[in-house]
């Protein structure tokens, strides 16, 4: 089984538009959305939810005012400033449970934390595993891990050979969780100084975790000079540049109609198809 994970560093470079098109072009695959705190792939795939499960995050803590003697030990030990005058500020609580273990009166109790939901859906392009992190929840890295676990076991059950994953932006915890053990990180970059700056950091991240990386430039013709810079950078870093997708307003128009780009008439369809063939070659499929 192979997995390709589409990431970008900077947000909004076109990860989901490209992943949505791969969904149409690939065969015998499972689709995954790992951008659990601002998921978008479902908007292109029109999923029909078959399985819906609660995601339990790290338990939060609560202080029982009946048992609390006001000794202040919890407040003193909390590194996150979450305990103040015998009350826990849930937004600041990191879930470390130090107060729970330390309280001499047993006044701190653990409270179950419904931190989101994950889903297995049917789409016309194949099965799709996705999630929704609860409002103002942490635990996004854990939910990413859960979604990927579900996708793998689904692929095994149904004998599917390929997992296509839409990754989150950034280089922090959810991205690290999305990258571990994947076969290829495809970095979507746009020819802007911001995106190029972020490209370097995300490539270093993939390198740090020993993940094979390839780059594609989206909207390359918005600034051909910057695109040339990306080409040179990739060559110097010895990272394969496997695609260039042009700018076409039809891409936004397709998103407005909630369709993957390759399903509408656009000059960029050929670009994306040839990008997909290069991804297949990189994966050795």
């Amino acid at each position: 089984m192979k997995e390709v994970t589409v990431i970008s560093g900077k947000g909004g470079t076109g990860k989901t538009s490209i992943t949505g098109s791969f969904a149409v072009l690939a065969q015998n695959h499972v689709l995954v959305d790992c951008d659990v705190d601002a998921a978008n792939l479902h908007l292109l795939l029109d999923p029909e939810i078959q399985v819906r499960k609660n995601f339990w995050g790290m338990p939060k803590v609560e202080i029982d005012p009946q048992k609390c003697t006001g000794c202040g030990l919890c407040e003193e030990l909390c590194r996150f400033g979450a305990v103040k005058q015998g009350r826990v500020d849930q937004m600041s609580c990191e879930g470390c449970r130090v107060c729970y273990h330390a309280c001499p009166e047993g006044a701190v109790r653990l409270v179950e934390n419904l931190a989101g939901e994950w889903f297995i859906s049917r789409t016309r392009y194949g099965p799709f595993v996705h999630a929704r992190l609860g409002v103002a929840q942490d635990n996004s890295g854990k939910l990413v891990a859960e979604v990927r676990r579900q996708a793998r076991s689904l692929a095994e059950r149904e004998g599917r050979e390929l997992i296509i994953t839409d990754g989150p932006p950034g280089i922090g915890c959810p991205v690290i969780s999305a990258l571990g053990g994947t076969d290829l990180a495809l970095v979507v970059v746009e020819p802007t100084l911001s995106s190029i700056h972020d490209l370097v950091r995300v490539i270093r991240l993939a390198e740090h975790f020993g993940v094979k990386t390839a780059v594609c430039i989206n909207k390359w013709d918005i600034n051909p000079r910057n695109s040339r810079t990306v080409e040179i950078m990739c060559r110097d870093m010895d990272i394969p540049l496997i695609g260039r997708v042009g700018y076409d307003p039809a891409v936004i128009a397709a998103a407005m109609e909630r369709k993957p780009v390759v399903q509408v008439m656009s000059a960029v369809v050929d670009d994306i198809v040839s990008l997909w063939h290069c991804v297949e070659r990189q994966l050795g499929i």
């Binding site: 470390c96 989150p168 280089i171």
Partner: protein, 289 residues
């Protein structure tokens, strides 16, 4: 006044808006720009600051003294993040999973654990023209950005205006960027993606009790899905920036909107005045309640 700029969806124009507002307001007041998108900070590309100092930010991870450790396993038992593991004759630590809560050290019955600083990133301070500029940069490979965001947030100037450029998404690093600010400006675009993530961001901001308004970027005649949503939710649309090839091209070169066109400079000053009005309104409502 502290204004955070957030979005839910990435790439909607947070940094363009935050830097433009900072540039426009620097003539009227002392402005501090805080780049809290510590995973991928970009504000410097548009503001070209000169950095004058760098502070390394650490969390304290456990260091085990094998001479004292009796392998009782209490540290691994209390660690909520699975950052310690008793494996045979040694305790193995996983610093990248550690949140620095200090639990293992506190509960170790034989005092075998001492704190060891692990760098998670840097906070850099400098000036960009009349602006005070501060950014956080997460070390590549470090997972934990919220403590670094907090370290950046501490740098608000005395009085004046602080503008916080938040990361995309709606989870921990965003919450640490937005909470405690006086107002959150949500930047979105009129696509199904933009709308979906705006709704998530609005719920997040409301749960933090921070008043918010919306800025529509890449606005186009006839694409009214964001306005419709804002009407339903009773949220003010504070500004629209049209979809424009020239603006996109200027952005690609790292030119902020306020520098690109004088008219935008005035528009961002006006935006600030309107935010001030909304915040004052909100406060008087709160006092009445």
């Amino acid at each position: 006044m502290i204004i955070s700029v957030a979005s839910g969806k990435g790439g909607t124009g947070k940094t363009t808006v935050a830097t433009s507002m900072a540039l426009a307001l620097q003539a009227c007041d002392h402005v501090t720009f805080l780049d809290c998108d510590v995973e991928e900070p970009n504000g410097h590309i548009f503001l070209n600051p000169e950095f004058t100092e760098t502070e390394n930010i650490y969390i304290e991870v456990p260091k085990i003294d094998p001479g004292k450790c009796n392998l009782c396993g209490r540290c691994a038992e209390v660690c909520a993040f699975n950052a310690l593991l008793v494996a045979g004759e040694a305790v193995i630590t996983f610093p990248e999973l550690c949140h620095g809560c200090g639990g293992c050290r506190y509960f170790c019955p034989v005092g075998a654990i001492s704190p060891e600083p692990k760098q998670i990133g840097t906070v850099e301070r400098g000036v960009a023209g009349r602006l005070a500029f501060v950014r956080g940069r997460l070390e590549v490979g470090a997972a934990l950005s919220p403590p670094l965001v907090d370290a950046v947030r501490k740098n608000r100037g005395p009085g004046g205006i602080t503008i916080v450029d938040a990361p995309p998404g709606t989870s921990c690093p965003v919450i640490h960027s937005v909470r405690g600010t006086d107002f959150c400006l949500l930047v979105t675009e009129p696509t199904p993606f933009g709308l979906n993530d705006l709704d998530l961001a609005v719920q997040m901001v409301r749960s933090l009790g921070v008043p918010c308004g919306v800025l529509i970027n890449r606005a186009r005649e006839g694409w009214g899905i964001i306005e419709k949503y804002c009407r339903q939710e009773g949220i003010t649309v504070m500004m629209k920036i049209p979809l424009s090839q020239e603006i996109a091209e200027a952005y690609s070169r790292g030119v902020s909107l306020a520098k690109f066109d004088r008219g935008w400079n005035d528009a961002f000053k006006q935006l600030y005045r309107e935010i001030g009005g909304l915040v004052a309104n909100e406060r008087s409502h709160c006092n009445q309640r």
